[in-house]
Subunit: 178 residues, 2 copies
């Protein structure tokens, strides 16, 4: 089996085991993604978006994010673009937080995570997708993150990673020069 | 398009937009997963596994994890089973950390995250898959997590979420009764 669907490719790969055995694994190829946490004010607050996700059939609260589907666009450029499209802010400064595979057991999606500071509001979001046209922006206290996770109000993996690493960055527990 | 491959189902869904428009999204259905962070000693340390992931073509350092592919098995039972299969320890106590979609833009995989305490070593891991038969166990200081993320040595999303939430749990920043 090998199939393309939208931005995904699904294939079955035969893997060599440690002995002579072979085994088959289903693999989904993904273009990669960025997630960016916009930080505002001294509290500080963060800007999140609530949007309908067809794959899970419900609305989810997420940090601005997007696929790396523009040829030649560096991940930090994609982060800046998604910030403008989804929450209508321009970033004066981006800080790299980390990188992760979202589900490496079957998919090669690799996400770059940033925090965005020194934000300047734009007139209006420049929505590029149907989802972006109807998403709503919510301003949330970064200090409320643990409570939102505990109450299953934050259930997106890269959003949670981004928020927890943004807090670690701001409280100084991330090694300097990372 | 609608295809099954291994434990995944890939389909194209037509979504109604806010106006009259319709748009198509590729959706991958996944049985769900658990990730469990085994905590040892007073430092404390955590037990991670290094395993080859065919989807990304390399070895990754991860917390013990597995799919929810046993009918009727509750997620905490799956967590206990994976702990025995992958790092050969039995948990005296599991603490729920949170839950997350790994990549809700295209996939409904939903992961339950736990920390495991009061661990008892078993004689040998009871590997259930080809990957488990060759994975190696590594004992890592929980305090080293920020550094490992900053150096891209921890790049699995639910592992990072699990480790950061385990630390928050142990330092008391998670709301009581969550």
């Amino acid at each position: 089996m090998r199939a393309h669907s939208g931005f995904l490719e699904v294939l079955e790969a035969t893997i060599e085991g440690p002995g002579d055995e072979q085994f088959v694994r289903t693999i989904v190829r993904h273009p990669g993604a960025v997630t960016v946490v916009p930080v505002l004010g001294d509290a500080p607050d963060v800007l999140l978006v609530r949007q309908y996700r067809a794959a899970v059939g419900t609305e989810i609260l997420e940090a601005p994010a997007g696929k790396r589907d523009v040829d030649g666009e560096a991940p930090d450029e994609t982060a800046r673009r998604e910030l403008e499209e989804e929450v209508a802010h321009r970033a004066g400064r981006l800080e790299w937080l980390g990188e992760c595979y979202t589900s490496p057991g079957f998919c090669d999606e690799y996400a770059y995570l940033y925090a965005a500071f020194d934000l300047t509001p734009l007139d209006a979001p420049s929505a590029a997708t149907a989802e972006e046209a109807v998403m709503t922006v919510e301003r949330v206290l970064l200090a409320a993150v643990d409570d939102l996770i505990a109450h299953r109000e934050l259930v997106d993996a890269t959003t949670i990673v981004g928020l927890l690493l943004t807090r670690a960055l701001l409280t100084g527990s991330v090694p300097a020069g990372a």
